[in-house]
Amino acid sequence: MNKILIFPVLLLLTFAANAQITKAELTATGLTCSMCSKATYKQLTSIPEVEKVETELNKTAFILYFKKGSAINVGVLKKKVEDAGFSVGELLVVFNFENQQVVNNNSFIQDNIKYTFIDATPAILTGEVKVQILDKGFITDKEYKKQQKLVKQFPGYASVNNNLYHIKTL
């Protein structure tokens, strides 16, 4: 009975949007040296959707620009950093929104990936907007532990899924 009720509710809350990811700012953790940064850089540039990668070596940060119209799954960025031997400490993604309504627990689907707003200030967004991915593996372990209070409010946050991400506008 519950499931039957939840299903239409989910449908109401989920919109297929046109919200392309254009850019990402990634901070890698677990490294200092430029050889380690280069290993990470080489992994990130091997992603077909990536047009170019700029680096900020002192912060072990990478700015990724994506090819126009390409479908990005941020899980691929995480996997590439881990393949280099390191972790993602912070991932900020720039969406190009069109009248995107932001309410806590509100979701939209882009390229078969569902994004849910959590910990958000209500707004309607248009144009390039920077959001942070808050899921496990996209923030430091310490940060993730701090975010556990969000699980009570947003039960879906506890799940780890490659097609389901939780985002916060900055």
Partner: protein, 269 residues
């Protein structure tokens, strides 16, 4: 094992740190996945009678995935009569089973194993499966990175077998040993990164020890080194190994090492 972890806890709490591409030991970290490393180690070791032993150890390294990497190495040396000889080779595998990353720091643990073949004569009590003994080594490594400082320590069991054909391991000698290492390295230059082309300079000091299980004989060496990383891709290591003490027979414990290494990224799909 408990002692090992206690020692580690103390080292971590001491909060010293360096980079972790060590010269005489391997760190708990692995190479990037799908990359290939080529290394050539040259050792110039002084025998106590004045003869210079040259060892060349070419090595291929492959990062299979984030947890596994393997090495294959050849052993060439002029220690025996008749000039340079191919004396053997080895296979090495490392499995990273713990990794905790934070901003410019990490702690990692890995287990490793090496199996080596060697056909040279057995000439010392020290057991060394890198270039002297047929045998195997099994161990664990812990590495802590703290910004520009890296600390690493390892503990291993090493077992010598007969150097076939022709050289049986002497039954009166200890055929197994416990090894322990402790390494500290620090990034000295650049002070601040601007691009991948900056040459990195690392300074390191490593301690390498062994204790023979059957008779309790042991040694401890100190090995300072300097490392240059060029274009964030090539490594030149220059090191010196000096015996601090030894109660066992060793042929040529002291000498220089020159190691060259190059990493090819994303070689495998």
């Amino acid at each position: 094992m408990k002692i090992f972890f206690c020692v580690f806890a103390v080292l971590i709490s001491a909060r010293i740190s360096a980079q972790e591409l060590f010269v005489f030991t391997e760190p708990a970290s692995n190479m990037p996945s799908r990359s290939l490393g080529v290394r050539d180690m040259n050792a110039f070791m002084f025998e106590k009678n004045g003869k210079l032993n040259y060892h060349n150890m070419p090595e291929l390294m492959w990062g299979i995935n984030k947890k596994w990497m393997v090495h294959m190495q050849g052993f060439i040396s002029n220690r025996q009569e008749g000039g340079l000889n191919v004396e053997g080779g080895s296979f090495y595998a490392k499995y990273r089973f713990l990794s905790n990353d934070d901003i410019q720091r990490h702690f990692r643990l890995a287990a490793y194993g090496r199996f080596s073949l060697n056909k040279a004569d057995i000439h010392q009590q020290e057991i060394e499966t890198m270039g002297h003994n047929t045998g195997y080594e099994l161990g664990v490594i812990g590495t802590q990175l703290l910004h520009k400082l890296a600390l690493s320590s390892s503990l291993s069991y090493e077992r010598a077998l007969d150097n076939n054909p022709g050289y049986e391991f002497p039954p009166t000698e200890s055929n197994s040993a416990a090894n322990y290492t402790f390494s500290v390295g620090r990034l000295m230059y650049p002070k601040s990164y601007t691009n991948f082309k900056q040459t990195n300079v690392n300074l390191m000091v490593e301690f390498l020890g062994q204790r023979l299980n059957a008779n309790g004989k042991s040694f401890l060496d100190i090995a300072p080194s300097v490392q240059f990383i060029i274009n964030s891709q090539a490594r030149i290591d220059i090191g010196y190994r000096q015996e601090l003490y030894s109660t066992m027979k060793r042929t040529a414990p002291n000498g220089f090492i020159l190691k060259l290494e190059y990493t090819f990224f994303n070689v495998f799909k």
